[in-house]
C-alpha cells in the first residue's frame, strides 16, 4: 500500500497529526500496536464485584490543562480545537474547583483565575511580591514555543529572581510532576509552557473523561478519510539511502510512504529504524492507586480537585530509589470538577513517583503485594487530607511502571519520554519525524499541538 504519510501510534499526537494531513487530502494511515487508541492517556474498565456494575477508568487523566472559556482568544486550547475543527462544546469541559500545593506548614491554592495564585503568594510570601511579579512578567514575555530553543535550567532562573527557596519548591512541584522528563529540574522553556498551562490557564475535565477526547479525535480522522489500524504495530521503519520509505508491521505487511511520523518515543523510534541514537531513556515514571469509593465526598469533607502534597520542605522530583516514593503524592479527586451530579461512586487517584527496575524484577505475588502496600499508603494520604471523609472502597486498581510499559511500549514505562527532546521533530533520517512527548510538547494538549504543528510543517507545507 502507498500513502502520503504513515503515523506510528494512535495516541494524542498521532491522531492529531493524522487529522491535519487527512483534512487536506493527504492519504494517511495511523498504525497502533494496542487494541484501542489513547496511548499514555487511554481508558479501560473493571467490574465492581459486589454490585456487578462496570466502572470506567481513565489511564492517566487527572486534568486537562490549558483551560480556556468558549471563544477565548489566542489560547492553546482554542487553537487546538480550531485546527482540528472540533467545537468547544463538544468536550463539555468541567472546570476545577481549586487545586492545592501542600507543603509542611504552607499551602498555596490556585484555580482557573490566575489572581487566586497571585493573592496566595502575596499573602503567604509577602516579601516575595515584587520578585514574583518580576517572574510573571518574564514568563509573559517569553517565547517558549521557539523550536530551536536549547536547555536552560529552571532552578537557576527561579533562584536568580526569587529569594525564598520554599516558594521555588512549591511553584516547581506541580510543573515538574505534570511534565518534566528531567529529574530534579526542568527546561525553562518547558517551565514557561507549564506555568501558563497550569497556573495561568488551569484545569478542566471533559465530561466522560479522556474517552470523550479520544472518540472525537478518531471520529474526525475518519470523517476526513484517514485510515486507522489497531493491533498493528510497526516492527521496522524501512529506509533507503537514509530516507524513510515506509514501515513493516507486526502482521508482516509492508506499507509505503515518503513521510513517517512517530509518536513511539525517540529511542524507541530510532530502534525501529535500526539507527544508533544518543538519547537517554527517561527516568521519570509513576504508579497510581485508584480507589472507587461508595459515595462522593461532600464539599465540607473534601473540595479540592488536585492536591500536590509534599511532606518535606524540599521537593524531590527524581526516579524513585525504592519501589515508590511516598514522601510526595498527587491526589486527584475527579468528583471535584464542577458537576451537577453528586450521586454515584466517588473516586480518588493517588500518584507516586516510582521505580521501573524494582517493579520489573518482582515475581507475580511479590508484585501484587507491593501494589497493595502502595495502595494502603495512598489511602493513608487521602485520610490525612480529608479527615472528615469516612469512605469504603468498592473497587481498587493500581498501575505501576511495568503497566505503562506493557500498554504503551515506552521503554522503562517512561511517562515524559527521553530527557533529550527534538524540538524541530527532525531525526537523522530524512522523512522520519518525531511527534508528541519526545518532540518536547507533552500532556494531552501539548501532545495534540505537537501533532498539529509537525503535521502542518512537514506533512502539508514542506511536502508541496
Amino acid at each position: 500500500m502507498k500513502y502520503d504519510a504513515i503515523v506510528i501510534g494512535a495516541g494524542m499526537s498521532g491522531l492529531a497529526a493524522g487529522i491535519r494531513m487527512a483534512m487536506f487530502g493527504k492519504k494517511v494511515c495511523v498504525l497502533e500496536k494496542h487494541t484501542i487508541a489513547g496511548g499514555l492517556n487511554s481508558y479501560y474498565q473493571r467490574r465492581i464485584k459486589e454490585t456487578k456494575e462496570i466502572a470506567q477508568f481513565d489511564v492517566g487523566l487527572h486534568a486537562l490543562t490549558n483551560f480556556a472559556t468558549k471563544g477565548e482568544r489566542r489560547k492553546p486550547l482554542t487553537k487546538m480545537l480550531k485546527q482540528l475543527r472540533i467545537g468547544y462544546d463538544e468536550f463539555e469541559l468541567c472546570p476545577q474547583s481549586y487545586s492545592l500545593i501542600d507543603f509542611p506548614g504552607k499551602q498555596l491554592r490556585f484555580n482557573n483565575d490566575f489572581e487566586l495564585l497571585k493573592n496566595e503568594v502575596y499573602e503567604k510570601f509577602p516579601s516575595e511580591i515584587d520578585s514574583f511579579n518580576k517572574l510573571v512578567e518574564k514568563i509573559n514575555n517569553y517565547n517558549e514555543l521557539d523550536l530551536n530553543a536549547t536547555y536552560i535550567s529552571s532552578r537557576e532562573v527561579l533562584n536568580s529572581i526569587l529569594h525564598n527557596s520554599l516558594l521555588v519548591e512549591m511553584l516547581l512541584a506541580p510543573l515538574l510532576i505534570y511534565g518534566s522528563a528531567w529529574e530534579k529540574d526542568m527546561d525553562f522553556n518547558q517551565f514557561v509552557i507549564m506555568f501558563k498551562s497550569i497556573y495561568m490557564e488551569g484545569f478542566s475535565r471533559p465530561k466522560g473523561g479522556v474517552r470523550t477526547i479520544i472518540d472525537k479525535l478518531i471520529a474526525r480522522f475518519k470523517e476526513e478519510g484517514g485510515e486507522l489500524k489497531f493491533r498493528c504495530g510497526v516492527e521496522e521503519i524501512l529506509l533507503k539511502d537514509n530516507k524513510a520509505i515506509g514501515v513493516r508491521t507486526t502482521k508482516g505487511e509492508e506499507l509505503f510512504a515518503p513521510r513517517v511520523f512517530s509518536s513511539a518515543g525517540l529511542p524507541e523510534t530510532m530502534e525501529l529504524a535500526k539507527k544508533e541514537v544518543n538519547a537517554a531513556v527517561g527516568k521519570m515514571t509513576f504508579m497510581e492507586a485508584i480507589a472507587l469509593t461508595e459515595r462522593k465526598p461532600t464539599k465540607s469533607e473534601f473540595d479540592a480537585t488536585i492536591v500536590f502534597h509534599n511532606s518535606l520542605e524540599q521537593y524531590h522530583y527524581e526516579g524513585a530509589k525504592d519501589f515508590f516514593d511516598s514522601r510526595s503524592a498527587v491526589v486527584c479527586c475527579p468528583d471535584n470538577y464542577e458537576m451537577d451530579n453528586r450521586d454515584g461512586h466517588g473516586c480518588f487517584r493517588v500518584t507516586f513517583m516510582a521505580n521501573y527496575e524494582k517493579f520489573k524484577a518482582l515475581d507475580r505475588s511479590a508484585y501484587l503485594e507491593k501494589k497493595e502496600e502502595a495502595f494502603e499508603q495512598a489511602m493513608g494520604i487521602v485520610k490525612k487530607l480529608a479527615p472528615q471523609y469516612e469512605f469504603r472502597t468498592v473497587l481498587k486498581d493500581i498501575f505501576t511502571p511495568t503497566t505503562v510499559e506493557r500498554y504503551t511500549w515506552k521503554k522503562h514505562g517512561t511517562v515524559y519520554g527521553s530527557p533529550d527532546k527534538i524540538r524541530n521533530g527532525k531525526t537523522d533520517v530524512d522523512g522520519l519525524y518525531i511527534i508528541g512527548t519526545d518532540q518536547g510538547f507533552l500532556g494531552i494538549v501539548g501532545a495534540i499541538l505537537s501533532g498539529i504543528s509537525l503535521g502542518n510543517l512537514y506533512g502539508l507545507m514542506e511536502s508541496e
Binding site: 483534512m23 487536506f24 487530502g25 468558549k70 471563544g71 482568544r73 489566542r74 482554542t78 487553537k79 480550531k82 485546527q83 475543527r85 467545537g87 468547544y88 498539529i452 504543528s453 502542518n456 502539508l460 507545507m461
Partner: protein, 80 residues
C-alpha cells in the same frame, strides 16, 4: 467568479476555519488578523481550503495579499 462570489467564498472559508467568529461583522478594509482571532496556523488553513475547494494556489510570498477582505477579493478574483 465575480468579486461578490469570491468574497462569499472567503467568508465561508473563514467561518469554517474559525467557527467562533462572527464573519458578518467584518470590516472589509481592515486587517483580518486584527479583527478576528486568526494566527499563522489559521492563515495556512485558509490557503489550504482555497486549494482544496477551488484549486487556487497561493504561494507563501503572496500571503500578505490576504491581509484584508478587500485585498483577498482583489488578489483572488483573477485566479478563480
Amino acid at each position: 467568479m465575480s468579486a461578490e462570489e469570491v468574497k462569499k467564498v472567503v467568508l465561508d472559508i473563514i467561518a469554517d476555519v474559525a467557527p467562533d467568529e462572527e464573519v458578518s461583522d467584518i470590516n472589509p478594509a481592515e486587517s483580518l488578523r486584527d479583527q478576528l482571532d486568526l494566527d499563522s496556523m489559521d492563515f495556512l488553513d485558509i490557503v489550504m481550503e482555497l486549494r482544496k475547494r477551488h484549486s487556487v494556489e497561493v504561494p507563501s510570498e503572496d500571503y500578505p495579499k490576504l491581509a484584508t477582505l478587500n485585498s483577498c477579493v482583489e488578489y483572488l478574483t483573477p485566479k478563480m
